[in-house]
């Protein structure tokens, strides 16, 4: 039973994450004074899914896509982290996209607000490759 539960959670990091987010959101909103994050708009008119859906389920989509890409070589762009990063890049004063070390970063804004630590950017690039040489089409 317990191992089932652990496995359930381990396969779905989103599950505990969702609980934590909910808990944090409740506790933060209880403070009432906490400033809401200023979520930057992405490129284009709309996201690949509804904003509400994305807010709750982006981690599920990313996790699913991660395994599809990793094991099956499926590289569709719709739910790919790389595309999220490209579309939601936030520029600093000099017009360069900021990395996850900057609080203005799209992912970081919300994750800091919700106190949810992610380790995606320990390995993944947190900004588009754009300005570098050798960019491919």
């Amino acid at each position: 039973m317990l191992s089932k539960a652990i496995q359930f959670i381990a396969h779905r990091p989103a599950f505990p994450a969702a609980i934590i987010i909910t808990a944090c959101v409740i506790s933060v909103s209880a403070l009432a004074g906490a400033p809401k994050p200023d979520i930057p708009k992405g490129k284009g008119d709309r996201c690949v899914e509804d904003t509400d859906y994305m807010r709750k389920n982006h981690m599920e989509l990313l996790l699913h896509q991660r395994d599809e890409t990793m094991y099956r070589g499926i590289r569709t762009k719709k739910h790919s982290l790389k595309e999220c990063i490209d579309c939601h890049a936030v520029n600093d004063n000099t017009g360069q996209p900021v990395s996850h070390l900057d609080s203005k970063h799209f992912c970081v804004q919300c994750h800091e607000y919700a106190s949810v630590k992610i380790d995606c950017f320990d390995c993944h690039a947190s900004k588009p490759r754009a300005q570098q040489a050798g960019q491919r089409l």
Binding site: I6, Q7, A10, H11, D119
Partner: protein, 420 residues
């Protein structure tokens, strides 16, 4: 009047007890600090690199894990082989076994590249990996020995301690086989890739585990001034001697087998006659300090009945055991892979070179911290639960033991133990 064995917690109120715990606490804290620093900076601050991927933490961890299964031997001898003299020692033996294993595993986990992913290691398994089996063997060992301890300590369940003890004994043999096979199944490395490594690890566990047990037993009894008769000391001393000889025998066979195969002459020369740190550690550390010297203490009559000499012998066994682990784990990696037989190989990635390794203070700190943690568990355990008999005087453990003019002394000592 018939004397009885009474198991009691140690008082653990003396300044000495707290001083020892404080020292262990400092070592544990330093170990945790070292682990934090290594994880934060990345492993480049350690001596480990892409050539020597397992370093000092693994020397400590494998030693402790091997010693853990060996420490259970005392209990096995009592439950499985029905030797009465060992019965009062059995609970402590189980506790030491669990404590050493926990200490070793802590080191291993804290040295991982991503210790934060422990949950992944517990939920994703590749059953072809000996490492994955070992995760079950280790956690299973802790659970089984815990049940075994329960059966031994709860009088109503004493009757079950024999079957559970037998099961624990089989399990520990498989566990050490698994640990040895981590190395034994590495086809690519000439220093390993030998089925005999599993039995080598099993006999090493007998010897190293008993050595740690001896020190803790004698240390705790002298610290609490509980009587410890010659009968026990003498039996442990002989047993330690036999185990040391067995290790020496198996290691000799291992090297002889390897020396017979021309293909392995290079790596054997490197370890046995390379004029390097591994050669020194093998001959001086393992053979001389870790085997021959303690053999003298354990087998010669001049050192009979002496707890002090048994402790000395045990310390040298542990030192020699650590040296042997260093030779096996690090020496085995330092010798280059034979990727292109018949060719001299060179590259910017150190192909063909002897791997260089200098242990960093952080690795040693982590290892020592794990060791300290294991001892701290034992010292805390004997204070909380009734692991140890009030007295292990000869008259109690073996009524037929003929000790000269000692029994009176023991009785007075028994009266004094309350002071500790």
């Amino acid at each position: 009047m018939k004397e009885m064995l009474h198991y009691r917690e140690i008082p653990g109120k003396s300044a000495g007890y707290y001083a020892v715990l404080a020292i262990l606490g400092v070592l544990i804290a330093l170990g945790l600090g070292a682990a934090y620093y290594m994880e934060h900076q990345g492993h480049h601050v350690t001596g480990m690199n892409n050539q020597i991927v397992w370093g000092m933490p693994h020397v400590f961890a494998v030693f402790l894990i091997v010693a853990a299964s060996g420490a259970l031997n005392v209990a096995s001898i009592s439950s499985v082989f029905n030797k009465k003299l060992y019965k009062p020692l059995a609970p402590l033996s189980g506790l030491v076994a669990i404590a050493l294993l926990v200490g070793g595993l802590c080191i291993l986990v804290l040295d991982l590249g991503r210790p934060d992913r422990l949950i992944v290691a517990m939920t994703y398994y590749n059953f072809k990996s000996i490492f994955a089996w070992n995760i079950f063997l280790y956690t299973g060992f802790i659970a089984i020995v815990a049940v075994y301890l329960w059966m031994m300590l709860e009088r109503r369940f004493n009757k079950f301690s024999k079957p559970v003890g037998f099961f624990a004994f089989i399990w520990r043999l498989i566990l050490t086989t698994g640990t040895g096979s981590i190395f034994g199944f590495l086809v690519a490395r000439q220093a390993y890739d030998a089925a005999i490594l599993a039995p080598v690890f099993i006999v090493m566990s007998f010897s190293f585990g008993l050595a740690v047990f001896n020190i803790l037993l004698i240390g705790i009894y002298s610290g609490t001034r509980r009587p410890l008769g010659d009968a026990v000391v003498e039996r442990l001393r002989k047993l330690q001697g036999v185990f040391i000889a067995a290790v020496l025998f198996f290691v000799t066979i291992f090297h002889l087998t390897s020396l017979y195969a021309t293909e392995r002459h290079g790596v054997m020369k490197f370890i046995l006659d390379g004029g390097n740190v591994y050669t020194g550690l093998f001959w001086l550390g393992f053979v001389l300090i870790g085997s021959i010297i303690p053999l003298v203490f354990c087998l010669l009559n001049g050192f009979k009945n002496s707890a002090r000499w048994l402790v000395t012998a045990s310390v040298t066994v542990i030192a020699g055991g650590m040296a042997q682990m260093y030779v096996i784990i690090i020496g085995g990696q330092a010798y280059p892979l034979d990727m292109f037989p018949g060719y001299e190989v060179s590259s910017s990635f150190f192909d063909g070179d002897i791997g260089s390794y200098t242990p960093s203070i952080y690795e040693v700190g982590l290892g020592a911290g794990g060791f300290a943690f294991a001892i701290a568990i034992v010292l805390a355990g004997v204070k909380i639960l009734r692991f140890l008999p009030l007295s292990l005087a000869n008259s109690l453990v073996d009524p037929h033991y003929h000790s000269e003019e000692r029994s009176e002394e023991n009785e007075t000592a028994a009266g004094e133990q309350a002071r500790a």
